[in-house]
């Protein structure tokens, strides 16, 4: 195995470059090094001006999403050796405006997330102690609760690329995480946003979101399930008298 690998890193420094350019760096190729370790090596030893987001380096915080050789991945969970002999091309997440180098503006996602009310909604006062739940009830939503808001699904989604108004995979999956939770009573509050034209109906079930998801959330599945819920509600609205809905 060669002892170095070339990383081609997208650089964009506002005021210095009119558009992103690639800069090549040779970094040590070590078995245990992820793409993020390569970037940290560049930042610490080669070029301190390189900007990128990272925090936990263990696939939990969701801040180090990048486009590596064309695919949206967590750079902490993607190993350099898998790309040997290189080069490894590192770009910012697609479908988001670039602020600087590998840092993207996540404002759009942060604005959409609360629009689906991803929290427990109940009318009554919280009980003394915990809300109890059976293992089966937990399984109904557990998969969707694994989302770490890394936005790889938005970067992978061709619909979001064409229509930035789309509420998007992670936000809809998180809405379903609460809709399918036996403790939650807020499904009606989320319906308007989810069943709008920019909600589930914008999705054409390409499925790239579920392919890209590093946590196995399956946002495409969450969206398809909600389409059936929304369609059932639409039929009820159409067929039943107001009082029976």
């Amino acid at each position: 195995m060669a002892d170095t690998i070339t990383m081609q890193v997208a650089r964009y420094r506002p005021g210095q470059e009119a558009e992103p350019v690639f800069q090549s760096y040779d970094v040590p190729l070590r078995k245990e090094w992820a793409v993020l370790d390569g970037l940290n090596h560049i930042k610490d030893h080669v070029d301190g001006t390189l900007s990128y987001r990272w925090s936990c380096r263990m696939g939990i915080c969701g801040s180090c999403g990048m486009t590596v050789n064309g695919s949206p991945v967590l750079s902490c969970a993607t190993f350099l050796t898998d790309y040997a002999p290189g080069p490894v091309r590192v770009e910012p997440l697609r479908n988001f405006p670039v602020v600087r180098d590998l840092v993207v503006d996540i404002g759009d996602f942060m604005a959409k997330l609360p629009s689906v009310k991803p929290w427990l909604i109940r009318d009554d006062e919280p009980p003394e102690g915990e809300y109890l739940q059976t293992p089966d009830e937990l399984d109904d939503y557990k998969k969707f609760s694994m989302c770490i808001n890394c936005m790889l699904c938005y970067s992978a989604c061709p619909v979001y690329a064409l229509d930035p108004a789309f509420v998007g995979p992670a936000a809809i999956a998180l809405a379903q995480r609460y809709n399918l939770d036996s403790r939650d009573e807020g499904a009606a509050d989320r319906r308007d946003v989810l069943s709008s034209a920019e909600g589930v109906w914008a999705c054409t079930f390409v499925g790239e979101c579920s392919t890209a998801c590093p946590k196995g959330v399956d946002p495409a599945g969450a969206i398809q399930r909600y389409k059936l819920t929304a369609a059932t509600h639409a039929l009820k609205d159409f067929l039943l008298p107001r009082g029976a809905r």
Binding site: L162, W201, A231, H233
Partner: protein, 116 residues
């Protein structure tokens, strides 16, 4: 009152069409396109097959399959034109062409089945 969109209805037709077509079309194609022509299965008598086809239940099932499959095509083709060819600005025309085509195809299917 939120805006009523016909999207749920056409999506239900799309879904049902995909399911119906995926389940029945391969079976029909295998039977009448492969197994019977190749002699793997005994060739059914023409008069017998015609009697089966003329049963109102067969007609209803085939009509349902044709209509659902056509609406499945219409919905998918609409989004192929929207996103694949970036023609969303021609949305009105595309909707008329796709769902109108599915309606016209359904009418033809109904006519052919009624005449059988």
């Amino acid at each position: 009152m939120r805006r009523r969109s016909p999207e749920p209805l056409v999506w239900l037709l799309f879904s049902a069409g995909g399911m119906a077509a995926a389940l029945s079309v391969p079976v029909l194609l295998f039977l009448f396109g492969v197994a019977i022509p190749l002699g793997w299965l005994p060739r059914p008598d023409h008069a017998h097959l015609l009697t089966v086809l003329r049963s109102p239940i067969t007609k209803l099932v085939l009509f349902g399959l044709c209509v659902l499959a056509l609406f499945h095509w219409a919905h998918r083709f609409r989004y192929t034109l929207y996103d694949g060819l970036r023609l969303k600005k021609l949305s009105g025309l595309i909707i008329v062409f796709c769902y109108g085509g599915a309606l016209a195809g359904s009418a033809v299917a109904g006519y052919v089945l009624l005449r059988a």
